[in-house]
Amino acid sequence: MSYAYLFKYIIIGDTGVGKSCLLLQFTDKRFQPVHDLTIGVEFGARMITIDNKPIKLQIWDTAGQESFRSITRSYYRGAAGALLVYDITRRETFNHLASWLEDARQHANANMTIMLIGNKCDLAHRRAVSTEEGEQFAKEHGLIFMEASAKTAQNVEEAFISTAATIYKKIQDGVFDVSNESYGIKVGYGGIPGPSGGRDGSASQAGGCCS
């Protein structure tokens, strides 16, 4: 499939908050409660359309466990967007957000767009973090915020797409030098089908056609 842009996303947050479930819901539109826990990193991809342009999201779903962090940090490099996820039913996952954010600020590029997601909002009866707290945290740290549920699919699509829209806007505004892949953006062949369309490594050559 050809694309105008390819964005690299990472999903981060404590173990068990539902990162893999969110990814699966977004890419496969299903909820699989018995998904294996993540070791290292897993990948997903999906095409979306923004401003009539096909955009490919390449999503890295990282392992949340604390002791894996020294390794997962290396995956931040070159991500254009990040979904920072906590579990609204587990307070500690919210308390750890600051340290995740610090990691992201340190190891990702400064222009990375970060979306804060309070997941499992279908479990409202077990809620341990209020929506207002989430909003407040996001505001303080300059993040976009949404509550979502990987189980019901509520806001899942929106979370991924509005992140992409924000990145896209930054490109339009000239925030990124899209020819520099360290921003996590690759320029594709925008609508020109072909076997090498959007192939990694060849994409950046075609910068002129899209910007």
């Binding site: 068990g16 018995v34 998904h35 826990l37 070791i39 990948f43 604390e66 002791s67 290396s74 490099r77």
Partner: protein, 794 residues
């Protein structure tokens, strides 16, 4: 006759000092030379003796007859005699170290090779010329780590592994075997020499960091016939004679060749003042290039010069060629081609089949039909090899990329025993490709032949061990008599599933091999009680206590969250409220009390799940898991030090076993090997289907070839995909994704065979890549097995 030659080489002060020493030597040689005149007829006088004068009866450089050429003056007549050497005579040539009675006539420190195109990567060593009898040998021995005295080399040497040092060591090459020496004098940097042997071998360029090129050439000139090539004044040809008569005639012009050792000089050269870098800026223009023209027989032969140039190119690919040879060596071992029984070891080497025709039946290695256990073999060493001069160069394209050249060549292989005796030597066809030629670099990234070889190296896999055969390993009381052959058997075939629950207990160390049935039965009951006691520790925690025990609650919560996310698609664990999932929880939680410092960490449930599936029994699964964690525990340390040491060891192994890939990873910032993280942490659990994964695990647990066989498995898989990785120029992200997506697409049997071959090839050098204490070794006993870290997680 000599004077102009010497003058030609003596226009630097470095040389001037050595010339005085030389004159001393010449004087003493005149009388000691008589020692070589043994068995002379009455009244006869030997005026010239030269060993290792060689006839090539065919066009194959490997087929040769060597002998001693003598000129004997008898009255007014001069007789020429070529006597074929006996084995004992020629055997001396392979002797490493300085043989008794040897005289060191040239020593130069800080002669350095650059195995890669990076100037920072170098191996420094000592170059020596050693005279032994009438023969002059050249040796270049790399310094051992830390012995290096000069500051500018000691740090760089440590980056290169021990195997590099071994690979490049030049052990006692007779100077008469040298075909040509090319001197390079770059405008910037150090002078270096490329030495090509008559066999076609080219050594890597030798950089003279401390100068001494002229002195080196002059010393050689004192012992063999050395002339400049007419076509290129920087090429010196050794023993380049047009015909035997001229050879003998020319030799007469070199009376010093009849020299015999003078033991008073061995250290003179090394204590001579080292004129730092005095030759660096020598552009060679002062050389008298017409020198060679004064020798009648020298006719410019463009074909010869071209072939020398081509051969010299191979000095730059030596590393690859050696690597290839190492694999070929392995292949040959599999063919049972190498004889290794101890009887042979105590006998003279049988290397000279072609050379002397004097071999006895013992020396035909094909007679040995049984391949001995690789572990019991004496370590064979490939000391040097060369490339045949019949080679083809053509442009070709590969994976859409234009490859500059493709070489087809033969590799000359000589296999040595550790003590220096030659086991065998032969030519082997091989192919490889050159992918990038830059000034001074010659990088090889792919070899089709080489990759093909990986398919046939390792031993064919055997059918899994069945229950009947399993029974034969026990004595009457139930001891396993020969645990090594059991482990070997399992290494090559695995075990049938129905006996896994018995076999794994031994492999994991829950049962001792030399325990009896009765002992094991007793142990099982004791262990069962022990387990219940451990389990009751957390089971007895009341809700009220738990409320005040955050660490416990968190730990339990985490395990609960993870056991429901472990292998739930396997029927053994699927469905709601599956009791086996509860067993996983019980065992992991009990383990986190048994080993409270380590606690629980993700990945453990992946390791436990197959064990419980095989054992079915809770207590036995627990103790088997405990045994496994004795080795793998450090992988789960909070600070990840176990994982980091493994990934570091892996990078060293790849450097050793696949340097093109290593170089690629280095250039692309992939040396942290994080893309292999999951492979190593959970022993490829997620890369294969359940049955295959269990097969691999039991192979790994035999620790048959290495405790760290899993690292060789990593290398094998990476190596298999090397051309794709490099061909597609994968960056870290792409590589990580690629490796992740290999899951389910790895051929287990092929991989094990490749890994086996790699492990054997790497031998001691491979083991040296792996720091002590790296999982899956048993931990080095310390007071604190698992350093605690302050954090608010579990």
């Amino acid at each position: 006759m000599q004077e102009p030659e010497l003058h030609d080489l003596s226009d630097d002060s470095d040389y001037a000092a050595s010339q005085q020493q030389r004159e001393l030597r010449i004087m003493s040689r005149t009388d000691s030379g008589k020692r070589s005149g043994d068995n002379d007829p009455d009244g006869a006088e030997v005026v010239f003796v030269k060993d290792n004068v060689t006839i090539h009866p065919t066009q194959y450089a490997s087929e040769r007859i060597s002998g001693r050429l003598r000129l004997i003056k008898h009255g007014a007549l001069l007789f020429m005699e070529l006597r074929i050497m006996s084995r004992t005579d020629s055997g001396k040539r392979s002797g490493d170290n300085d043989p008794d009675g040897a005289e060191v006539v040239f020593v130069k420190d800080n002669v350095t090779i650059h195995p890669t195109q990076y100037a920072s990567e170098r191996i420094s060593g000592r170059l020596r010329l050693i005279k032994h009898g009438a023969l002059l040998f050249m040796t270049w021995i790399p310094y051992k780590e830390k012995i290096d005295s000069t500051t500018h080399c000691s740090s760089s040497n440590t980056k290169l592994s021990e195997i590099d040092r071994n690979l490049y060591t030049i052990r006692a090459v007779p100077v008469t075997d040298i075909r040509s020496i090319r001197r390079h004098t770059p405008t910037f940097g150090w002078q270096y020499l490329i030495i090509v042997l008559s066999s076609g071998l080219a050594f890597p360029p030798l950089y003279f960091y401390n100068g001494g090129v002229r002195e080196f050439l002059a010393t050689i000139k004192q012992h063999v016939f050395l002339v400049r090539s007419v076509g290129d004044s920087n090429v010196f040809l050794v023993n380049d004679f047009q015909d035997p008569l001229q050879r003998s005639l020319s030799s007469l012009e070199l009376p010093r060749a009849v020299s015999i050792s003078n033991t008073s000089t061995p250290t003179l050269a090394s204590s001579a003042p080292q004129i730092e870098n005095s030759e660096r800026i020598d552009d060679g223009s002062s050389s008298i290039s017409q020198y060679g023209g004064r020798h009648g027989p020298k006719i410019h032969d463009p074909a010869r010069d071209l072939s020398i140039q081509v051969l010299e190119k191979f000095s730059l690919v030596t590393k690859f060629a050696r690597e290839t040879t190492t694999h070929l060596l392995r292949e040959i071992q599999n063919d049972g081609f190498l004889a290794n029984d101890t009887k042979k070891q105590s006998q003279p080497p049988s290397n000279d089949n072609h050379e002397t025709g004097l071999n006895d039946a013992q020396s035909v290695p094909n007679e040995i039909s049984v391949t001995p256990d690789p572990l019991e073999k004496p370590l064979n060493e490939v000391l040097w090899l060369g490339c045949s001069n019949n080679l083809e160069l053509r442009a070709c394209s590969f994976d859409g990329k234009v490859i500059d050249q493709w070489y087809e060549l033969s590799v000359y292989i000589r296999l040595y025993y550790l003590d220096g005796r030659v086991l065998n030597e032969f030519w082997k066809e091989t192919h490889f490709e050159e992918a990038a030629t830059r000034v001074g670099t010659f990088e090889l990234v792919n070899s089709k032949e080489f990759d093909k070889l990986t398919l046939v190296w390792g031993q064919p896999r055997q059918p899994p061990l069945g229950s009947e055969e399993w029974a034969t390993f026990f004595d009457a009381e139930g001891r396993i008599m020969d645990s090594k052959s059991l482990r070997k058997r399992i290494f090559y075939g695995g075990v049938e599933h129905q006996i896994r629950n018995e076999v794994w207990k031994f492999l994991l160390g829950y049962h001792e091999y030399d325990s009896t049935y009765a002992e094991r039965e007793y142990l099982a009951s004791v262990k069962k009680t022990d387990y219940e006691t451990l389990k009751s520790q957390w089971q007895s925690i009341s809700p009220a206590q738990a409320r005040r025990f955050t660490k416990f609650r968190e730990r339990k919560g985490l395990i609960e969250k993870d056991v429901v996310r472990t292998d739930r698609s396997a029927s053994f664990y699927d469905g709601d409220d599956n009791p086996n999932v509860t067993l996983l929880l019980n065992i992991l939680l009990t383990y986190s009390f048994y080993n409270f410092d380590l606690g629980y960490c993700q990945g453990m449930s992946d390791l436990l799940s197959p064990i419980l599936f095989v054992m079915k029994d809770e207590s036995e699964s627990f103790w088997c898991f405990v045994s496994l964690m004795e080795r793998l525990g450090p992988n789960f340390n909070r600070d990840q030090n176990g994982m980091h040491s493994q990934l570091f060891a892996l990078s060293k192994l790849v450097e050793l076993l696949d340097s093109p890939l290593h170089n690629y990873f280095r250039q692309n910032d992939c040396l942290n090997y994080f893309f292999c993280f999951r492979w190593v942490l959970i022993q490829f659990k997620r890369e294969f289907d359940f049955e295959k994964m269990m097969r691999l695990w039991e192979v790994l647990w035999t620790h048959y070839l290495s405790e760290h066989f899993h690292l060789y498995v990593c290398v094998a898989i990476l190596k298999k995909h090397r051309s794709k990785i490099i061909g597609e120029q994968m960056d870290f992200d792409t590589l990580l994704k690629f490796i992740n997506e290999l899951s389910g697409h790895i051929d287990l049997d092929v991989t094990i065979r490749d890994a086996e071959a790699l492990c054997i090839c790497a031998g001691e050098n491979g083991a040296a890549c792996i720091p002590p204490g790296t999982p899956a070794s048993l931990p080095i006993e310390t007071d604190l097995l698992y350093p605690l870290q302050d954090d608010n997680e579990i």
